[in-house]
Amino acid sequence: MSSLHAVPEEVHKFSAEVGTSDPITVVGGRTQWNVGGTPDGSAREVTAPSGIWSHEPEEMTVRCGAGTTLRELSEQLAQHGQMVPFDMPPNATVGGALSVGRSGIRRLRYGHMRDLVLQIRHIDCNGKIVTSGGPTVKNVSGYDLCRLMVGSLGKLGCLAEVILRCLPKPQATRWLTGVIDPFEVYARLYRPSSILWNGEQVWVCLEGVSSDVEAEAALLDLTEVEGPPPLPSDGRFSVEPKALRNLSVDDTNWIAEIGVGIVHSDRPSKAQKISKTNESLMRELERRLDPNGRLNPGRQVVPL
């Protein structure tokens, strides 16, 4: 194997820190700390290693410790005109963002963050290092544990190191707003980066080369704004994209992502239902990968 496949020393250290027996909570930037429940305060807190370990601009890949902040990541990538479109607070960590698995508001164009993950090294419940995926931009070697780990709230393993695919930063970005039918906006534009709607007002993000952004903007009667509106953050749920048509404006404050189906609301949302069969598969995974439930107790991917 090449040096690209070698396990960094920092990951070995983290594996020793996670250890083998007591309950532990992995702490990132605490920006989504209560998603899935409040971490059990009695568990020992551990922190994943941080640092950009390699960034090869011509490969458009970056390898970093899971504890690296999004600020550090985006500053590094921006030097080479690249980005990983997480769209989250800069003090959030890469590992935290992936463990929670909630994409940012430009998902409409860039897809789910899990599709940018090439390789994950995690520490399992026995303190051992597990590598899945690989360092190249395309890979189907073995089972796709990378997809499984995204959104797992650290219940199946503690993210230690990730390799991500980077994207070129768009030449131009414009946010526009106005009162218009958001579904018509979606139908008319070619791959906009974001369409937000609060039941009355629409915000649209267009990205690309300047001439395209101008031309797309000219299709709509909208006014330029600085950026997206603040999103209500107490609740979040998702529906199939076309069901957003039937969301009615009531006394709650909400903003929906058109074409994606995510709704940000100021009211805590009820957990979406999981079928019995899927729940039992998920419990089997938990039972096999963390039989004593020592990883991140207090939080639940599958509500109890």
């Binding site: 190249t136 073995g142 598969l281």
Partner: protein, 478 residues
């Protein structure tokens, strides 16, 4: 006359399927292999038409303690659909309906036997397509694409199958039916859908798939660039990406590939060139024209010869025809070929290509290279004549050397063909024993007894539940 176990299970299957449960020589010959050189042994083939029938087949298999193997068109190149351990074959060819095209959700629900290109043909007039486009797209099925997490030239910009599948109805190895994922953006719980895609039929049988629809680009430009030296072509690939441009597709063909393809399709490929790049840019017109300029200026810094830009859709299709028929065209030089699939960092393409040529020379084989250069996905073709004594041993030894060279360069075992049988015993070149044991624990959550497509993906030693024999067919690399 129900004396043998074979007759017993066949009788049960015929109760459900009638004459669509078969054990005739024709079917058994057909379903004993896939697109690889590996040969397995089929003894019963089922052709269900509905999820309920698949569920019943799985239940009958459980009752008779027989494994099962679901397969699509059998175009896989890693032996994933080659029967070992005497599984009942579940062929999805008759489950070939496009159930619903839901343009508002940009989703289509399809049965697993729908062919990749048939789906795109259905969608194109409505302004959409299914982005993964393997070279076998005329004949490969969506179910097979899901099993292998298939790619294709346009996955460079659009991502592989996993990114284009929202939900999958699955008959699990215990006979229960469930839907993994859903049409909402953030389905609750763990991403079982993501885990299932690429699991090569070892976690259950996909019976319906909700695929995402990609809007057709308003503008497309297809360029053919020729280079006097293959190294300049490879350097151009890296430099295009480094310039911040991700083309829709970025394919490379070496000299021998150009020659045989040109003789086969007459697309006007420059036979005097050492390498050509086929570059496609798509999207809004401004971005496309900007991309053309970036490609042109990068290529000019790397000794490009001619730059041919397809003038119309007809010329574009002609250029692609050359690329997509390259494998068939190899028959002009040798009757058989072995198609490899590894990925290396783009910056190592030149180095690894050099090694591929040297390896082929050392084993007295002909190497032809046609590949997805933009994502470093090499597809060396080793052309040979199976009539030559001992040639398969040389082909396998050369293949192993190519995989070793790719991994030494920081690459991986497979970019899009999968592991199947072909590479399962090479998994240890990339993963530790503990990595593989963890992967197996995850698989076992779906199939603790190993009923679904036994003996695939992981080396036999790393699976706890290989209850259906260890036989490996002739021609396997083990």
């Amino acid at each position: 006359m129900q004396t043998s176990p074979h007759a017993n299970i066949l009788d049960d299957l015929r109760t459900v399927l009638g004459d669509r449960a078969r054990d005739g020589d024709f079917e058994l010959g057909l379903y004993g292999k896939d697109g690889s050189v590996l040969q397995g042994q089929a003894s019963i083939v089922c052709l269900p038409v509905a999820t309920a029938e698949v569920r019943q087949i799985v239940e009958i298999c459980r009752k008779h303690d027989r494994p099962f193997l679901a397969r699509g068109s059998g175009t896989g190149l890693a032996g994933g659909a080659v029967p070992v351990g005497d599984p009942v074959i579940i062929a999805t060819a008759k489950m070939n309906q496009i159930i619903e095209v839901d343009l508002e959700n940009r989703i289509a629900w399809v049965e697993p036997g729908v062919l990749n290109l048939d789906l795109t043909k259905e969608l194109t007039p409505r302004g959409f397509h299914f982005a993964p486009d393997p070279s076998s797209q005329q004949v490969c099925s969506i179910g097979g694409n899901v099993a292998n997490n298939s790619g294709g030239p346009h996955c460079l910009a659009y991502g592989v199958t996993s990114a284009h599948v929202a939900a999958i109805e699955v008959v699990l190895p215990d006979g229960s039916v469930t839907v993994l994922g859903d049409l909402s953006a953030e389905p609750p719980g763990y991403d079982l859908r993501g885990l299932f895609v690429g699991s090569e039929g070892t976690m259950g049988v996909a019976t319906k798939v909700a695929v995402r629809l990609t809007p057709n680009p308003p503008a497309i430009r297809t360029l053919l660039l020729d280079f006097p030296d293959v190294r300049d072509g490879a350097a151009t690939v890296s430099a295009i990406i480094a310039a911040g441009l991700i083309p829709a597709a970025l394919e490379m063909m070496d000299k021998r590939a150009i020659e045989i393809v040109e003789a086969f399709v007459n697309a006007g490929y420059p036979t005097e060139a050492d390498a050509v790049l086929l570059v496609e840019l798509d999207g809004l017109p401004g971005g496309v024209e900007h991309g053309v300029e970036v490609v042109r200026s990068v290529a000019e810094r790397h000794q490009v010869g001619n730059i041919r830009i397809a003038a119309d859709n007809e010329e574009r299709e002609l250029l692609w025809k050359g690329r997509k028929n390259a494998f068939g065209a190899v028959a002009r030089i040798k009757p058989d070929y072995y198609l490899h699939d590894t990925v290396v960092p783009r910056g190592k393409l030149v180095e690894v290509l050099d090694k591929v040529y040297k390896i082929a020379d050392a084993y007295d084989l002909i190497a032809v290279n046609v590949f997805h250069a933009g994502d470093g996905n090499l597809h060396p073709i080793l052309a040979y004549d199976s009539g030559e004594k001992g040639v398969l041993e040389r082909v396998h030894a050369a293949g192993r050397a190519i995989i070793t060279a790719s991994i030494e360069a920081g690459g991986v075992l497979s970019g899009e063909h999968g592991i199947g049988l072909e590479k399962r015993d090479y998994m240890g070149m990339l993963f530790s024993a503990h990595d593989m044991a963890t992967q197996d624990m995850v698989r076992e959550a779906f199939d603790p007894q190993g009923f679904a497509n036994p003996l695939k993906v992981l080396p036999s030693g790393s699976r706890c539940s290989d209850s259906f024999g260890q036989h490996v067919p002739d021609g396997a690399w083990v």
